[in-house]
């Protein structure tokens, strides 16, 4: 197993194919990141909503 490129610069350009390869990599990373982040945000929002509801009902009980 050897490093296939002579320099970092060559790794980026890849003999003219760099644009295609790195576009594919970046878009894949973005989509996969979204698949992880979006459910985490949903979970956090759901838990926050539940906590807020509990706090609200507790407050209204104190008032009455």
């Amino acid at each position: 197993m050897t490093f296939q490129f002579e320099s970092l610069q060559q790794l980026l350009t890849m003999d003219g194919h760099g644009f295609y390869v790195w576009t594919a990599v970046l878009v894949s990373m973005a989509v996969m990141l979204w698949l992880i982040v979006s459910p985490l945000l949903d979970s956090r929002r759901a838990l926050k909503d539940v906590a807020r509801d509990i706090a609200r009902t507790a407050n209204s009980k104190e008032e009455t």
Partner: protein
């Protein structure tokens, strides 16, 4: 049903498996390890594939997109089966959790199908000189995307969660009939695309130095898919079970920390 689970202990796991709370707690324990495994496999495979695998004699460096394209296509197809099986389990055993898994599998599958199409198009430009070719496999991938979008659209069209779940489970099962045709279409309308590069029945036709990083990437994508499926399902569980005591306790504990 109680005597039944006492009668045969092997049924107990099945009942527990149907409990969203059990699922939430168990996957909570698994997720750190699974995420670590997915991250390690994906980064190792990607670096190996992009920088260390030998370049293809004909396609040069553009072939390196294979390390994203093939795993994404695998999971896009496998994800449809996972979705359909989860839907079928839901319909047969009326398991709530199973519907939640099905509902979570749809956006993940659609995203991966999009990814397979996108990386294929970007790969096509340097290889065939065009981004889009109406070739059998590209077309069947596009049909797969439409099938996913149909399931998603149907799911959200119903006001009642229950009806939406059952309806999209049926649609997913009907769509599964289409998947063998997608595979067959590779033989029927083979035009521009390369033949299937990996056949598990015979030895890989790729050079081992190219094939090994691909295998790592495929494993990494499977782990990633599982992580994403767990995360989506956990979000769905929290949303649906927000009235239950354990979710309330969880929310309070989180608020205090």
């Amino acid at each position: 049903m109680n005597w039944l689970s006492n009668l045969s202990p092997s049924w107990q796991w099945f009942h527990r498996l149907g409990s969203p709370r059990w699922f939430y707690q168990t996957t909570g324990r698994w997720l750190p390890w699974l995420s670590l495994l997915a991250f390690t496999l994906l980064s190792a495979g990607l670096v190996w594939g992009l920088a260390f695998a030998p370049q293809d004699a004909k396609q040069g460096n553009s072939f390196r997109i294979i390390y994203l394209h093939v795993p994404a296509s695998f999971l896009a197809l496998a994800g449809y089966y996972i979705m359909a099986i989860a839907g079928a389990v839901g319909l047969i055993w009326k398991m709530k959790l199973s519907y939640m898994l099905m509902k979570s599998a749809a956006p993940i599958g659609a995203a991966l199908t999009f990814l397979a199409l996108f990386t294929g198009a970007v790969w096509g430009k340097p290889t065939w000189g065009t981004y889009w070719v109406w070739d059998a496999r590209v077309t069947s991938m596009l049909i797969l995307l439409f099938l996913y979008l149909g399931v998603l659209a149907l799911q959200y069209a119903f006001h009642s969660n229950d009806a939406g779940n059952k309806a999209s489970a049926i649609l997913a099962l009907v769509g599964t009939v289409n998947i063998p045709i997608i595979y067959k279409s590779v033989d029927w309308w083979y035009t521009l695309h390369q033949p299937a590069t990996i056949k598990f029945t015979s030895a890989p036709s790729m050079h081992p130095d190219m094939f090994q990083p691909l295998l790592v990437m495929i494993l990494g994508f499977y782990c990633f898919y599982t992580v994403a499926l767990f995360l989506f399902t956990r979000a769905e569980i929290l949303c649906r079970e927000r009235k239950s005591v354990w979710v309330k306790e969880l929310a309070m504990a989180r608020e205090q920390s």
